[in-house]
């Protein structure tokens, strides 16, 4: 086992198979404080699968994942306590208001709130919508309710799956600034997005580089554009 004291998350020789098809193989990377890592790859290349593996939700993988130099399973709850994951689905209850939704989230994380919930909602541009049931909100606003958690919790590891979906331009700009601040403060961001990021110093992991040879050969043979 490699014990890198300064790293947050180490991924060692990770492979993932889905329905007999190998998505990626031999992925090794160290996520350190201050990193912003963008996972790239065409649709179906396993970006979401990789993120779900990193959250521990999905266990269909081979290889090791280390949290602060120790296996991910030794102190699972400690890892989860330091993790914020926003997936494809926003995880927002439509019949609750934004405030009630965030109350639940902070309750689950035992309420280590950095700023009050109302301030977080103001930050994401939902001031005045605190008590509007979420089914009256637009898709972008729903996303923003989920994104408000980025302001609330002080967790170092952020795993974001397409965080910019349905977010307008100014929202994207603001989010990019937030990600930069988080990284500068010693956090780590792992994300997927199809948008061009206006950020500097973003590491990129292209899952195409980790595709097994056979698949690449097949793709060339069958003329699939990747």
């Amino acid at each position: 086992m490699i014990a890198l004291t300064d790293s947050l998350l180490d991924v060692i020789d990770l492979s993932c198979k889905r329905d007999q098809r190998s998505l990626f193989e031999g992925l090794t990377h160290t996520f350190c404080p201050g990193d912003i890592v963008q996972i790239e790859g065409p649709n179906g290349s396993g970006k979401t699968s990789l993120l779900r593996i990193l959250t521990g939700v999905c266990s269909d993988y081979q290889g090791d994942i280390l949290w602060r130099g120790q296996s991910f399973f030794t102190d699972r709850l400690d890892y989860l306590n330091h993790l914020l994951y926003l997936g494809h689905l926003p995880g927002v209850k439509k019949s609750l208001t934004p405030r009630e939704n965030l109350h639940w989230c902070s309750g689950m994380n035992s309420g280590h709130l950095q700023i009050p919930i109302l301030d977080a909602l103001e930050e994401v541009g939902l001031a005045g919508f605190e008590d509007t049931p979420c089914h009256h909100l637009s898709a972008g606003q729903l996303r923003r309710v989920a994104l408000a958690r980025l302001y609330l919790t002080p967790t170092p590891v952020w795993i974001l799956d397409e965080p910019f979906t349905a977010i307008d331009k100014s929202g994207v700009g603001k989010l990019e600034t937030l990600l930069c601040e988080h990284a500068a403060g010693g956090g780590c961001v792992i994300m997927t997005t199809h948008q061009e990021l206006a950020l500097e110093g973003v590491d990129k992991i292209n899952l195409r580089d980790y595709q097994p040879k056979l698949v690449q050969w097949q793709q060339e043979e069958w003329g699939i554009d990747v």
Binding site: D6, N81, G107
Partner: protein, 235 residues
Amino acid sequence: MSNTKFYLPAPSAAAGFVAMLKRDLLLSYRHKGELANPLIFFLMVVTMVPLGISPDPQFLASLAPGMIWVVALLASLLSMDVLFRSDFDDGSLEQLLISPQPLYFMVLAKVLAHWMVTGLPLTLAAPLLGVMLALPEGGYMPLCLTLLIGTASLSLIGAVGAALTVALRKGGLLLSLIIMPLYIPILIFGASAVSNAIDGFAIMGQLAVLGAFAAVAIVLAPIAAAGALRVAING
């Protein structure tokens, strides 16, 4: 760069439990229609029994304990399907699984909330329905008592089935098939306790068995449901 500032204290399970319970109760309150569904079903069936079978009080009295228990069981089954479904659909189940909380208590909180809005109202409505079915006087107390303990077990066992079928688009029938056999012992002991009480026999034995079911279910069912949820999300 040092990351010592990022050692966050472990969250308290009690706070998580309360947050989960509160949210689910609030959600049930917002969906009042769904909330009333099992209760209305319960009321309707019991109202129709005298109309459909016989209004003779003596006949109804012999039917009442079993009838009320069967309908309560079916009403509870009817409401089980939605326990994890909406959480699964909107992604909050995923958030629940990666929250830094023991999943056992989270499932327990969800089941408790579910019981408070289905099993408890059924128990409270049961005496009224007893009157409609001409339940003899000695049967009311045992009926409430057995339903109180029994519906808690029903909710707990149902949660396992609901968790197993949550990832299936049409899991309704499968859910019934999975949990129906597990419901049967509770029905047998619950209904027989009430009819024994009416006939003037002791019912401590049946109550003890029902209590034992509830105790085992409270320990094991959330573990099984939590495991099933992990599998469902994994897929």
